[in-house]
């Protein structure tokens, strides 16, 4: 049952991800990505990461992808014929990607973790928001404060870049 759920969700996820790369029209591509992000959120839920699952939908699907859709509509991007890379580059890219995938499978097998009998039970309170918050606001305090600077820079540069008249 569990394995079945995994395979089903994984198939849907991979199909959606392929949709992002292969769809001709950018808007379909963006929607495929939304679907893929949604299935990722379902995976997070099943991995006992409820908080992350909800935030995944709020941040990625609810905010970032809306921005992508806006830009696609703003620039009125339709299908474009000469849009794929040259055949040689396509072949190279495919080879590299499959090599990477094969390497992962090989090393996963060799390390023996995939033979383990599942992930086992979780400790009590592992999925509670309070524990993640505890980590985030004590151990990772510095990184957290730095993100505010990152966001500040993002706001300023977006305003500067996107405004029509620069002073």
């Amino acid at each position: 049952m569990n394995t079945g759920v995994f395979v089903l969700l994984a198939t849907l996820l991979v199909v959606a991800a392929l949709g992002v790369v292969l769809a001709r029209s950018p808007i379909r591509s963006a929607l495929s990505l939304v679907v893929a992000l949604f299935f990722l959120a379902v995976f997070f839920l099943l991995l006992d990461a409820q908080l992350i699952a909800a935030l995944q939908v709020i941040v990625y699907a609810g905010a970032i992808m809306v921005l992508f859709l806006f830009v696609i509509m703003l620039l009125n991007l339709q299908e474009h014929p000469a849009e794929m890379a040259r055949a040689g580059l396509r072949f190279l890219a495919g080879t590299l990607a499959s090599l990477f995938l094969l390497a992962t499978i090989y090393f996963t097998n060799r390390s023996g973790i995939s033979n383990a009998q599942g992930m086992g039970a979780i400790p009590d309170g592992f999925d509670s928001t309070a524990q993640i918050a505890e980590r985030l606001f004590t151990q990772h305090l510095f990184a957290f404060e730095l993100t505010s600077l990152l966001l500040l820079v993002a706001i300023i540069s977006a305003v500067v870049l996107a405004k029509k008249k620069l002073a």
Partner: protein, 102 residues
Amino acid sequence: MTAVPIGWFLILGSLLFSIGALGVLIRRNVIIIFMSIELMLNAVNFVFVAFARQLHSLDGQVMVFFVMTVAAAEAAVGLAIIISVFRNRETVNADEFNLLRW
């Protein structure tokens, strides 16, 4: 979900990452390249969460917060750049962004 070993998650994560990388390499539309990068970031998030579950350590989940923030900042700035380039050159094809090329 406890019956599925971590290896499967790793392989699925790397499959997603490869698909994203493929998108970056074969598509010429800058916006789709951007979306493929988002996909790659998400593949990494996925592996973080899977390892957090396997190792019973919440640091993996905390890391997802920061990846999300970086992805958001990247999307905001990147798309602003695309818009301002489009204003000047009327294109979003990565091959035609060649003013800085030599």
